[in-house]
C-alpha cells in the first residue's frame, strides 16, 4: 500500500467528471462529460461564491452566532428550508435534463445510459430525502411550536444535530458531482444490483451514506417533534384543540419514528454486504434479495405519507383561513389523519405485487391499500365543505390548494388503480407509475410546501410575498404539471418502462415531446417564483406586516409579531378552545398586555450541530472512498463531542423580564397604531398585519 492509497483510499483522478472524456473522446462522452463537469463546476463555484461573499461582507461571526449555532427553532426551520431549496434547484435541473433526453430519445438522444441512470437516481434521492424531508421538517420546525404556544422544541440542541446531519447528507450528494460517480440504482437502490459484485464503484456507497445521514436526521427530528407536541403545549391546549397542521405534524413525527428504522436496517445490511462481505441480499451463499425490497418498502410507503401529511396540514389551515370559516369536521379530519398514519404501515407490499407471492397476500395488501382512500377522500370532501358557505379569497396559497384538490384526486385514482394487483401487473414499473407519484408529489407535497411558504412567509420575515408573480407562478405550475405528467399516464399504458434512457417505438415520441414542453413550463413557473421573491424583497417596506396577522388567521402563530421574538410569546398564552387566536379576536381581547412579565430562560448556542454534521460528512465521505483513517478519526470526534457535551453545564441563558416587557410593549403600541383592514384590502399596501374584528368583517 502506498501512502496515497492510505491517505486517499480508492479516490483517484478518474473520479473527476471530465476524466473519461480525456481518456476516450467520443462525441457522446464529450457531451456527457461536459454536462457533468459543468454541474461539478457549479458546485465548486457556488461554494466559492458563498465563502467569498460571507468573507466580503465580514459576516462569519454573524453567521456562526445567529444561525449555525443558534438553537432557535425558527432559525433552524429556515435553514432546513434553505437546504431544501438549494437541493431542489439541482433536482429540477436534473428533471429537465431527463425530460429533454426523452423528448429526443427515439433511438438515442444525447445522454449516455450511465449518465441517465445517475440522473434519475440523484433526482429521486434528492427530491425525497433532501428536498421533501428538509422542507417539511423546516416548516414544522418553524410553525408547530408557535401553534402550540411553546418557546422552542423540547430538544433544541438535538434539533441542531438533525440539521447538521441533513446538511451533511446533502453536501455528500453535492460532492458526488465533483468526485464521481453516484449510484445508478434508483432512489430505491434495489439489491442485488447495488451489491458489490454488480456495482463495485463508489456510487452506491455515496447513496447509502447520504441516505443514512438523512435517515438519522429524520428519526431525531421525529422524536423531537413528537415530544414537543406531547409535553410542551400551552396550558389549556388539549390534543383536540391543536390546529390541524400540528396534528399532521404529530402524525408525521410518529411515522418518522417508526418508519425510518426499516430503512436504516435495509441500508445498514446492504452496507454490511458491501463492506464486510456479508450475504444478506447477495445472489449467492444464501443471500435473499427479496428481503431488501421488503425492508425498503416497509419504510418507503410510510415515507410517502410522511411527505404528504404535513402538506395536508398546510392545506387545512389555508382552506379555513382563506374561506374565512371554521374547518369543517375538525374531529373527523383528525381521525382521518390518524387512520392514514396507522394504515400506512399495512400496505407496503403494493410496491412489489409482481414479485411472485400468492394471490392471498396480494389481495390482502391490495385491499388494505384501497382502505387508505377512504380517510383521504373524507379529507378531500371536508376541505370542500370548508369552502362551502364560506367566503373564498383566491390568494396564492388558495390557488395552490385548489390546484391540489383537483389534481390530487386524479393521482389518488391512479393510486387505487395501482393498488389493484391484476392491473398493477400491467403498469408496474411503467411511466404510469411515474405519473402517479409525481401526481401525488407535485400537487401534493410541492404545492403544499409552496402554499406554506406563501402563507407563513410574512410571519417569518415580516413582509408579504408579492401577489401577482405568485399567481403567475401558481397557474404556470398547475399547467406545467399537467403537461409534463399526464402524457406519462398514456405512455405507461402503452408499455413504456420507467428509467429508460431511450426507446424504439415511434408512437411514444409525441407524448415525450409534450412532457418535455411541460417541464419547460414548470421551469418558467420556477422563474416566476424567483421573480416573486425578488420583487417581494425589493418592495419589502411596502408590504410590512409587523402587527403579525396579515390573513385574519385563526391559530396562535398569528398572535405574535412578525417576525416573532426569539422566545415567541412574552407570556405563555392560556388556551380556551380551538382556533385560539380567532377566539380571542371574537371575544375582542387580542393583543393584551399581561399583568406581569417574567424572566425567560432560553437554550444557549451550541456548536454540536456543526461538529456532528462535519464529522458525519467526513465519516460518510471517507467510507465511500475507503479512507479508513478518516473514518476512525471522525468516529472519535463524534463520540468525543457527545461525551464532552455531557460536561457542559451552561446550557441556558436568561432574558430579563424588563427586556421582554420593552419589546412587547413596543409591539403592542405598533399594533394599536395599525389600521385594521378588511379582507378586500388584503393584497394592498394597507395590509399591515391587523384584521378588522370578525363581526364587522363578516358583513363584507
Amino acid at each position: 500500500m502506498t501512502v496515497t492509497e492510505i491517505l486517499f483510499g480508492r479516490l483517484g483522478w478518474d473520479a473527476l467528471p471530465f476524466w473519461h472524456m480525456l481518456q476516450n473522446p467520443t462525441f457522446k462522452s464529450v457531451i456527457n462529460d461536459l454536462i457533468a463537469s459543468g454541474a461539478g463546476l457549479m458546485v465548486v463555484l457556488g461554494a466559492l461564491v458563498v465563502v467569498a461573499g460571507v468573507s466580503w461582507l465580514g459576516k462569519w461571526g454573524y453567521l456562526w452566532r445567529e444561525w449555525l449555532t443558534s438553537p432557535d427553532h425558527k432559525r433552524i426551520g429556515i435553514m432546513f428550508i434553505v437546504i431544501a431549496l438549494v437541493m431542489l434547484a439541482r433536482a429540477i435541473v436534473e428533471a429537465v435534463f431527463m425530460r429533454a433526453q426523452q423528448a429526443v430519445g427515439l433511438n438515442g438522444g444525447f445522454l449516455t445510459a450511465e449518465h441517465f441512470g445517475q440522473l434519475f437516481t440523484t433526482h429521486g434521492t434528492i427530491m425525497v430525502f433532501f428536498m421533501g424531508m428538509p422542507f417539511l421538517t423546516g416548516v414544522i420546525n418553524y410553525v408547530m411550536p408557535l401553534q402550540i404556544g411553546a418557546r422552542d422544541l423540547s430538544f433544541p440542541v438535538l434539533n441542531l444535530v438533525s440539521l447538521g446531519l441533513t446538511a451533511a447528507g446533502a453536501a455528500l450528494v453535492m460532492v458526488s458531482l465533483v468526485l464521481e460517480p453516484f449510484s445508478t440504482g434508483g432512489w430505491t437502490g434495489y439489491a442485488p444490483f447495488t451489491e458489490l459484485s454488480y456495482n463495485p464503484g463508489a456510487g452506491v456507497d455515496y447513496w447509502i451514506w447520504a441516505v443514512s445521514l438523512s435517515t438519522f436526521s429524520s428519526t431525531l427530528s421525529g422524536i423531537n417533534f413528537a415530544v414537543t407536541i406531547y409535553k410542551k403545549r400551552a396550558p389549556g391546549m388539549t390534543l383536540f384543540r391543536m390546529p390541524l397542521f400540528t396534528w399532521t405534524a404529530l402524525c408525521t413525527a410518529i411515522l418518522m419514528i417508526f418508519g425510518m428504522p426499516p430503512l436504516t436496517v435495509a441500508t445498514g445490511l446492504l452496507a454490511l454486504d458491501r463492506y464486510l462481505d456479508f450475504h444478506m441480499f447477495t445472489t449467492d451463499l444464501g443471500g435473499n434479495m427479496m428481503n431488501y425490497v421488503n425492508l425498503f418498502w416497509a419504510f418507503g410507503h410510510p415515507e410517502v405519507y410522511i411527505l404528504i401529511l404535513p402538506a395536508f396540514g398546510v392545506f387545512s389551515e389555508v382552506f379555513a383561513t382563506f374561506s374565512g370559516k371554521r374547518l369543517y369536521g375538525y374531529t373527523v379530519l383528525v381521525m382521518a389523519t390518524i387512520c392514514i398514519a396507522v394504515l400506512s404501515f399495512t400496505v407496503w407490499l403494493h410496491h412489489f405485487f409482481t414479485m411472485g407471492q400468492s394471490a392471498n397476500v396480494n389481495a390482502a395488501f391490495g385491499i388494505a391499500t384501497m382502505l387508505i382512500g377512504i380517510p383521504t377522500g373524507v379529507k378531500v370532501y371536508d376541505w370542500m365543505l370548508t369552502m362551502y358557505r364560506g367566503r373564498v379569497r383566491m390568494s396564492v396559497p388558495m390557488i395552490y390548494a385548489v390546484g391540489f384538490i383537483l389534481l390530487f384526486v386524479l393521482g389518488g385514482m391512479s393510486g387505487v388503480i395501482l393498488a389493484t394487483p391484476s392491473v398493477d401487473y400491467q403498469v408496474h414499473n411503467s411511466l404510469f407509475l411515474v405519473a402517479h407519484f409525481h401526481n401525488m408529489l407535485i400537487p401534493g407535497v410541492l404545492f403544499g410546501m409552496l402554499a406554506a411558504v406563501n402563507y407563513w412567509f410574512p410571519k417569518a420575515f415580516g413582509f408579504r410575498l408579492e401577489e401577482r408573480w405568485g399567481r403567475r407562478a401558481a397557474w404556470l405550475w398547475i399547467l406545467g404539471f399537467m403537461l409534463a405528467f399526464f402524457p406519462l399516464y398514456v405512455l405507461g399504458m402503452m408499455g413504456m418502462p420507467r428509467r429508460s434512457v431511450s426507446f424504439t417505438n415511434p408512437a411514444y415520441l409525441p407524448w415525450t415531446v409534450i412532457a418535455g414542453i411541460g417541464a419547460l413550463v414548470a421551469l418558467a413557473a420556477l422563474a416566476c417564483l424567483l421573480l416573486q421573491l425578488w420583487v417581494s424583497v425589493r418592495d419589502r417596506d411596502h408590504n410590512r406586516v409587523f402587527a403579525g396577522d396579515p390573513w385574519d388567521g385563526r391559530s396562535l402563530e398569528w398572535a405574535t409579531s412578525a417576525p416573532p421574538p426569539e422566545y415567541n410569546f412574552p407570556v405563555i398564552p392560556e388556551i380556551y378552545g380551538r382556533d385560539a387566536f380567532m377566539l380571542e379576536k371574537d371575544g375582542g381581547t387580542p393583543f393584551q398586555a399581561p399583568t406581569q412579565y417574567q424572566d425567560i430562560v432560553m437554550p444557549a448556542n451550541s456548536a454540536m450541530g456543526v461538529i456532528i454534521g462535519a464529522a458525519g460528512f467526513a465519516a460518510a465521505f471517507a467510507l465511500t472512498w475507503y479512507m479508513w483513517w478518516l473514518v476512525v478519526l471522525s468516529a472519535v470526534v463524534m463520540i468525543g463531542a457527545a461525551i464532552a457535551r455531557g460536561f457542559v453545564r451552561t446550557t441556558h441563558y436568561v432574558i430579563s423580564a424588563d427586556e421582554v416587557r420593552r419589546t412587547h410593549e413596543y409591539w403592542l403600541r405598533e399594533v394599536e397604531a395599525t389600521t385594521p383592514i378588511r379582507r378586500s384590502q388584503e393584497q394592498s399596501g394597507a395590509n399591515r398585519g391587523r384584521a378588522v374584528p370578525p363581526v364587522e368583517g363578516a358583513v363584507q
Binding site: 445510459a113 441512470g117 445508478t184 440504482g185 444490483f193 454488480y198 445472489t283 449467492d284 374561506s323 374565512g324 370559516k325 371554521r326 369536521g329 375538525y330 373527523v332 412489489f352 409482481t354 414479485m355 411472485g356 400468492s358 394471490a359 391490495g366 385491499i367 384501497m370 377512504i374 377522500g377 370532501y381 370542500m384 365543505l385 369552502m387 362551502y388 358557505r389 364560506g390 367566503r391 373564498v392 379569497r393 383566491m394 383537483l406 384526486v409 387505487v416 389493484t420 394487483p421 391484476s422 392491473v423 400491467q426 408496474h428 411503467s430 402503452m494 408499455g495 418502462p497 420507467r498 429508460s500 434512457v501 431511450s502 424504439t504 415511434p506 408512437a507 379582507r679 363578516a698 363584507q700
Partner: protein
C-alpha cells in the same frame, strides 16, 4: 376450442367503452399492440378490470372535479347572494355520506379485487384442452434466453409461441432482479437469481408483440427487448424443426458468450450469427442440454460437467413432445369487445 373464456368474460362492455374513450391513445400504439390492445385472455381481463376500477372511482372523483369550481364561484369573496356561515362545522348526514359512499365503493372494489387477483394469479394454469407449452426463461444482462425444454431448443431475441395454446413459463435470472413482461398478453413477473417464478399466458391472435424487461438493471436496460411472435401450429412446428437443424449448439463455449454482459444484438454478433434485422435479432440454439435451467438456478458459475450434452434426443417422456398438429389458425376465442379494439387499432395504422 380453448376453454379460457372464463377469464375473458369480465367487463367486455367496459373494454369497449375504453376503446372508444381513448382513440388517440390507440392510434398511438398501432405499431405494436400492448395493454390497450390485448391479444390474449389475461391482458384482456386486466384491461377490463382497469376500466371497471376507473368507472367506480369516477363516482367519487367526478363530484370533486365538478363541485369544487362551483363552490369556488358561488362562495367567492365579495358575493352577497350565498349564505355565509363562518361557524358551521358539522352536519351529521353529510358526514355519513362522505364516509358511506367511499366505504361502499371500496367494498365493491375489494370484492372484485379479491376475485380477480385469484383468477389472474400468474401461477394459475389456464384451462385448455391443449396441454400447455413449457418454456423456460432466463434473464441475463441485457437479454432473454428462451428454452423449450421438451423440444431441446432455445432462442435469444425472439419468443415464438403457438397461437391458442397456453404457455407455461418457468422463469429465473442469471443476474440481478428483472421483470419479464409481454404487455399484449398479460402479467409481468419478477425473475430472480436462484429462484423460480411461474407465469401462464396465452395468445389468441397471431401477431408480433413487444416484450421486455421492466426492472432497471444497468446500462443496457433500455435495449433488453424481444419480440414475442404468436404463430399457428404449422409455423410453430416448422420453427422447431428448423431450429433443430440450423441452430447453433448451446454448449459451454457458446453459453459463455451468451452470458456476457451485452444486448441481444451484441450476443448474436459474438455468436457468429448473421443478423438481418438489427431491430429484431434472433439466435437459435439446438442441442440444449437437459437440466440447463435448473443448473442455472442452482449454481453459479455453471457446472457443465453435470449437464449431459444431449443432441435433441427425446430424453423426456412422450406426451410432452410438441404438438405438431391440431393447432388452430383462426381465432376461436376472440370476443366481440376485443375485436372492436383490434379493428380500431388496425384502422388507425
Amino acid at each position: 376450442m380453448t376453454a379460457v373464456s372464463q377469464q375473458q368474460k369480465h367487463f367486455p362492455a367496459l373494454s369497449a367503452l375504453g376503446a372508444c374513450l381513448l382513440p388517440a391513445t390507440l392510434s398511438g400504439c398501432s405499431s405494436a399492440p400492448g395493454f390497450l390492445d390485448p391479444q390474449g385472455p389475461i391482458a384482456r381481463a386486466q384491461l377490463g378490470h382497469f376500466w371497471f376500477v376507473v368507472a367506480m372511482l369516477a363516482i367519487v372523483i367526478l363530484p370533486v372535479l365538478v363541485l369544487t369550481p362551483l363552490i369556488l364561484w358561488r362562495y367567492r369573496y365579495g358575493t352577497s347572494r350565498a349564505a355565509y356561515r363562518p361557524k358551521w362545522e358539522l352536519t351529521l348526514w353529510l358526514d355519513i355520506l362522505i364516509w358511506g359512499i367511499p366505504i361502499l365503493i371500496v367494498v365493491i372494489l375489494s370484492v372484485v379485487l379479491w376475485r380477480q387477483t385469484h383468477q389472474l394469479d400468474p401461477y394459475r394454469p389456464l384451462h385448455s384442452d391443449q396441454p400447455p407449452l413449457e418454456i423456460q426463461v432466463v434473464g441475463y444482462d441485457w437479454k432473454w434466453l428462451f428454452i423449450y425444454p421438451e423440444q431441446h431448443i432455445a432462442t435469444l431475441g425472439q419468443l415464438i409461441v403457438p397461437v391458442g395454446r397456453p404457455v407455461a413459463f418457468d422463469l429465473t435470472s442469471a443476474t440481478v432482479l428483472q421483470t419479464f413482461f409481454i404487455p399484449a398478453l398479460g402479467s409481468q413477473i419478477d425473475v430472480m437469481n436462484r429462484m423460480q417464478t411461474t407465469l401462464h399466458l396465452l395468445a389468441d391472435r397471431e401477431g408480433e408483440f413487444e416484450g421486455r424487461n421492466m426492472q432497471y438493471n444497468g446500462d443496457g436496460f433500455h435495449e433488453q427487448r424481444f419480440t414475442a411472435r404468436a404463430v399457428n401450429a404449422q409455423d410453430f412446428a416448422r420453427f422447431v424443426a428448423d431450429t433443430r437443424h440450423e441452430g447453433i449448439p448451446l454448449d459451454q463455449h457458446n453459453y459463455r458468450i451468451l452470458a456476457r454482459k451485452g444486448s441481444t444484438l451484441e450476443a448474436a454478433k459474438a455468436l457468429g450469427e448473421s443478423v438481418t434485422l438489427p431491430d429484431d435479432p434472433l439466435v437459435r440454439f439446438s442441442a440444449v442440454p437437459d437440466g440447463l435451467f435448473d443448473a442455472i438456478m442452482r449454481d453459479a458459475p455453471l457446472d457443465w460437467s453435470e449437464l449431459s450434452p444431449t443432441t435433441g434426443g427425446s430424453a423426456t417422456s412422450a406426451p410432452a413432445t410438441p404438438h405438431d398438429t391440431g393447432g388452430e389458425t383462426s381465432n376461436p376465442s376472440a370476443s366481440a369487445a376485443s375485436t372492436t379494439i383490434t379493428t380500431q387499432g388496425e384502422s388507425a395504422s
